[in-house]
Symmetry: C2
Subunit: 351 residues, 2 copies
Amino acid sequence: ATTFRASEHQHIRYNPLQDEWVLVSAHRMKRPWQGQVEPPLLTTVPRHDPHNPLCPGATRANGEVNPHYEGTFLFDNDFPALQPDAPSPGPSDHPLFQAEAARGVCKVMCFHPWSDVTLPLMSVPEIRAVVDAWASVTEELGAQYPWVQIFENKGAMMGCSNPHPHCQVWASSFLPDVAQREERSQRAYQSQHGEPLLMEYGRQELLRKERLVLTSEHWLVLVPFWAVWPFQTLLLPRRHVRRLPELTPSERDDLASIMKKLLTKYDNLFETSFPYSMGWHGAPTGSEAGADWDHWQLHAHYYPPLLRSATVRKFMVGYEMLAQAQRDFTPEQAAERLRALPEVHYRLGQE
Amino acid sequence: ATTFRASEHQHIRYNPLQDEWVLVSAHRMKRPWQGQVEPPLLTTVPRHDPHNPLCPGATRANGEVNPHYEGTFLFDNDFPALQPDAPSPGPSDHPLFQAEAARGVCKVMCFHPWSDVTLPLMSVPEIRAVVDAWASVTEELGAQYPWVQIFENKGAMMGCSNPHPHCQVWASSFLPDVAQREERSQRAYQSQHGEPLLMEYGRQELLRKERLVLTSEHWLVLVPFWAVWPFQTLLLPRRHVRRLPELTPSERDDLASIMKKLLTKYDNLFETSFPYSMGWHGAPTGSEAGADWDHWQLHAHYYPPLLRSATVRKFMVGYEMLAQAQRDFTPEQAAERLRALPEVHYRLGQE
Ligand SMILES: O=P(O)(O)O[C@H]1O[C@H](CO)[C@@H](O)[C@H](O)[C@H]1O
Ligand SMILES: O=P(O)(O)O[C@H]1O[C@H](CO)[C@@H](O)[C@H](O)[C@H]1O
């Protein structure tokens, strides 16, 4: 019988954090691509555009004028998917027709006053200011809401409708679906094994090494064993930390620095401003924040779609939507490629 | 207190078939769109292109020459994600690192010898031939494999790399993730309520009417209460049918006819060849096919991404990937728009 080699033989892998499976078919990279190529990126974004509602001094859809901010800037989303005061749909009349109330707040956070930078092109102190703003908004909205979802859609390919560097924060009165799955998995793991799932997972990856991308004094970046997106990564603190506001000043500095390195590697991979959606997951907040959430470990997920080049992406379509996620090379191969990339940004190197 | 109106007030809805929640924020349609617009479609596809590996008489990547087929044509995918004979990864050494064997077969099915047609532009008897081919391939591959996933990726936007009308069939030695979720939900519902979940669901939708799109003697098309994609639909037989091969001749004719109507409405919505991924789910097959699968009801899911026009799609990105699916108008509004559309194709009307 042939010996199993992950890089050659298809197999399925389990994601114990989100209770999902992925099909890994490494041999598929040989397939030619004749499908859609993505439009080239805007090469020049003006540093300041008075008509861009995210710029300092610009007027937004609701008529408000942005301050001439110099660091980060947080404001209410003018088209929020969640508002603070929707009435409840009331009790359901049938088990197959269940609806529940949803209340919340949607904010936008600009990372920098300039439109022509992205996180990897910002300085470590500037990124540190973003980390602090993330921690503050978690604290502020987490006082009222059980879940504060910070996420960044980067690039037009990821539905981002404005090139100005920014992320969003959607706080909700309910635990969203993915949060519920991570809650169930982490709670069950802790009760069976007596320690947080992601603490043990991080330790194992440090021992196994093959999926590590970056390590620092306080943080790890790795391609998870169950990664679905081609170059998906997981960013984890080494210490047991439940939420962003708990990070110490040196953990925050170190986070800013490892993020800059990771995002520089991402941009260097295909010499493009690498698109992704990313977001933070930490223990639930709100009125239950004081309960026992020790099974939670803070982490960030990066989900980048590019597969082969700046214009050829992975499509999560038919089989993936109807049956199961599928990837075309192994997480170990992705980690190896990311590890090998320089930590100096290709655009800064050229200057 | 304000009275709840689904078309105005955000709320969350539960998908009892796949055990997932969706955030419905109907007020968000007012938001302007400044993000990516999709490239215009290829307006003219040649009817026959000898270099297209899906055309009759063309040579494929593996050197085989296609027959001059006149109806449907089924062949092995030259770049299969699943192959029949991969070795097993062996037992896992840690609960957080679980991998399992995956074996299978990937096939491609051409719907028609011409590259410049799509299902809604084909005749009912031609579509009926596709239904028969779906039933046969389910029977053939289902003899060996527990899951036979038939799916169609239509349009470049859905990762389809060839304009020739075709679908794919991936059969696997394992029950894929989504199948597992539907299995759990349908089994639990049957054991609690004594009848199949989707039989009761179809009956309820026939009574409630507001989400129905099309009904015929043997079939229903509706926008499910828990729809995630803007114009997502569910296609259900009225009779309790577990798998495609069980369909009677008149159910097959009627299916071909209702599919033509649905896909014509889809094309008419934005006067474009409407992109989507669709696929069939039926009871598991393989060596356990004889077990009790009465809780399963055959159905097809249609997941189309377009939101506002032929070039503006819904992006399932940041919040959706990290937290929960979100939609911008209600399933009832989608059903109403689809119901109102003509059943004659806009391109045929013009001719
Ligand atoms: O097999 P195709 O059409 O080349 O590829 C398409 O469908 C597959 C199955 O959904 C996906 O894995 C690919 O990402 C997509 O591009
Ligand atoms: O809020 P934006 O950036 O306008 O919109 C983007 O992110 C949202 C949250 O992930 C998605 O619901 C939208 O589909 C996407 O286009």
